[in-house]
C-alpha cells in the first residue's frame, strides 16, 4: 500500500487535533457552580434601569469594591421581591443570616496584579463593557470554569481555547493590558501594574 505510511501519520495528526481542541479543554478546566443564580438583565433592564456602578461601587478613596456585599443586596431585597426559588434562597440563606455570598469572580486577577478601576474608569474613561463585555445585560450567569493548574477563571484566558479572542472583550491576560497601554502610548514600568 503506497499511502499506508501517510495514512498512519495523518491518523496521528487528526487524533492529536481532536484531543487537543476538544478533549483537552474539558480536562483542563473544572466547572464550578455559582452559589446562587443572578440575573443582571432584570437589574439593568428598563424595569429597574440600574447602572453598573450602583452595585459595583467605588469606595471614597477610589478603591473598587467589586462584587457588592450582601448588605447592598439587602437594600432592595430586604424581603423577597417575587416568588422565585432563587429569591427565596437569597433571603433565607444569605440576607437573613447576613452571610456574604461566596461568588466566584469571572474576572478575578491574581494577587500579584494591580488593577485600579478608578484610574481606568474615572480617569481613562473606559466603559465597563470594553473589558467585561455585555455581562451586565445577561440574564443568566455564565458557567464558571477554573483552570486546574493555574487556578484562574477561564475568562482570564478567554473562552476560546486558542487564545484568540472571539469577542473583543474576551480574555484578561497581561498581553491585553500591554496592548491597550501601547495603543494609548502609556509608558510604564512593571510595578505600575504588579504589586
Amino acid at each position: 500500500m503506497k499511502y499506508r505510511g501517510v495514512a498512519f501519520l495523518l491518523a496521528g495528526v487528526l487524533a492529536s487535533l481532536a484531543l487537543g481542541w476538544f478533549v483537552f479543554p474539558m480536562v483542563l478546566y473544572r466547572t464550578e457552580s455559582q452559589p446562587i443564580g443572578f440575573n443582571h438583565a432584570i437589574h439593568t433592564g428598563e424595569a429597574n434601569g440600574m447602572t453598573c456602578d450602583m452595585c459595583h461601587e467605588f469606595a471614597e478613596d477610589g478603591r473598587f469594591n467589586g462584587i457588592p456585599v450582601t448588605a447592598k443586596c439587602a437594600d432592595c431585597h430586604s424581603t423577597a421581591l417575587g416568588s422565585t426559588e432563587t429569591e427565596k434562597r437569597l433571603i433565607e440563606e444569605f440576607i437573613t443570616p447576613g452571610k456574604e455570598i461566596p461568588w466566584k469572580v469571572y474576572s478575578r486577577q491574581p494577587d500579584n496584579a494591580y488593577f485600579s478601576h478608578a484610574t481606568h474608569v474615572m480617569k481613562g474613561k473606559l466603559t465597563c463593557e470594553e473589558c467585561h463585555g455585555p455581562h451586565g445585560s445577561s440574564s443568566e450567569l455564565p458557567t464558571y470554569q477554573v483552570n486546574r493548574i493555574s487556578g484562574y477563571s477561564r475568562d482570564i484566558w478567554g473562552r476560546n481555547i486558542s487564545g484568540v479572542p472571539s469577542e473583543p472583550w474576551e480574555g484578561m491576560k497581561m498581553d491585553r493590558c500591554v496592548q491597550c497601554h501601547a495603543d494609548r502610548n502609556k509608558v510604564d514600568g512593571c510595578v505600575a501594574c504588579h504589586k
Binding site: F58, E60, D61, G62, R63, P110, D111, N112, Y114, S116, A118, T119, M122, K123, R184, N185, K186, V187, D188, G189, C190, V191, A192, H194, K195
Partner: protein
C-alpha cells in the same frame, strides 16, 4: 501613566544618619507592609529578607573613642546604568520611566541572583526558604502587596503599593497627579526620630530637593556613577570621610 500628560517624577530619599539611632522600626514596618514572612529558623543576617536593612557602621576607634552610626539601606533606586536592570536576563527588573523607581517583578524572576551580585549596595534579597506564616497570620497580610514565592529575588520599591493607592485616590478625585501626602513609604512614615525625608527630586520645591543640596549630603558609592536616589546626610566628619573614601579594607 500617560507620557504626554503625566508629570514625570524621580522619587528619592534623604536619610539623616545623625538622627537614626538604629531602633529598627523602619525594618519592621517595611516587613509588615510588604508581607515579608518571618524568618525561618536557620535564617541569618545574610540569608534573611529585609527590604530595608539597617547596618551599623563603626568609626573603627577603640573603646571609648568608638562611635557607631546606623545606615538604613533600602534599594538605592539607581538611575543611570542601573546595575541590576542591565544584568537581568529576562527583564524582571526595570526602571519605571514615570517614577524612577526600580521595579522588581518576582513573578518574572527565575532566581539566578545575577542582580544580587551586581548590586553594590546588597539591597536585594533572595527567598531561600518558602515563606511561612504562622497559622492564621495570613489574614493579617497587607492586601496591596503580593507575597513572593521561594527562589526569587525581591527588594525595596519605595512602597510602590502606596503609590498605587495614591494614584487611585487621585483618579477618584479627578486630580491629574497624586497628592504627595498620600504617598509616603512605610519606613518614612514610622521613623520615630524622623530621620528620613521622602519626596520627588524632580520637584525643585520639594523638601527633599532642597535638603539634598546641603554640603554634608552624600550618596554611598557615588563614584560608581549609578546616580542612586537615596541620599544620606551626617554632620560627623568621620562618617563623611568614610563614606567618600569608599574603601573599607
Amino acid at each position: 501613566m500617560d507620557q504626554g500628560t503625566q508629570k514625570k517624577s524621580r522619587y528619592g530619599m534623604l536619610i539623616d544618619l545623625d538622627r537614626c539611632n538604629g531602633c529598627g522600626a523602619c525594618m519592621v514596618a517595611c516587613a509588615v507592609e510588604h508581607n515579608v514572612a518571618p524568618a525561618e529558623h536557620k535564617a541569618t543576617a545574610r540569608t534573611g529578607v529585609t527590604w530595608l536593612r539597617v547596618a551599623p557602621m563603626s568609626n573603627g576607634g577603640e573603646f571609648p573613642a568608638t562611635d557607631t552610626i546606623y545606615v538604613p539601606m533600602p534599594c538605592q533606586q539607581c538611575e543611570k546604568d542601573t546595575p541590576c536592570v542591565a544584568v537581568c536576563p529576562q527583564n524582571a527588573v526595570d526602571v519605571d520611566p514615570a517614577t524612577g523607581i526600580v521595579g522588581q517583578v518576582p513573578q518574572r524572576c527565575l532566581g539566578c541572583r545575577y542582580c544580587m551580585t551586581a548590586c553594590p549596595y546588597h539591597a536585594r534579597y533572595f527567598d531561600w526558604w518558602d515563606p511561612q506564616w504562622p497559622k492564621g497570620m495570613e489574614q493579617a497580610l497587607n492586601p496591596d502587596v503580593a507575597p513572593r514565592m521561594r527562589g526569587v529575588v525581591e527588594k525595596c520599591n519605595f512602597c510602590h503599593a502606596r503609590l498605587h493607592t495614591a494614584r487611585t485616590k487621585a483618579a477618584a478625585e479627578g486630580r491629574e497627579s497624586i497628592n504627595p501626602a498620600d504617598y509616603v513609604p512605610a519606613c518614612v512614615e514610622v521613623c520615630p526620630s524622623k530621620a528620613i525625608v521622602f519626596g520627588d527630586l524632580e520637584d525643585a520645591t520639594s523638601e527633599l530637593a532642597q535638603a539634598v543640596k546641603h554640603p554634608h549630603v552624600f550618596r554611598f558609592l557615588e563614584k560608581l556613577g549609578t546616580e542612586s536616589k537615596v541620599y544620606y546626610r551626617s554632620d560627623k566628619q568621620w562618617v563623611l570621610d568614610k563614606a567618600k573614601s569608599l574603601q573599607t579594607v
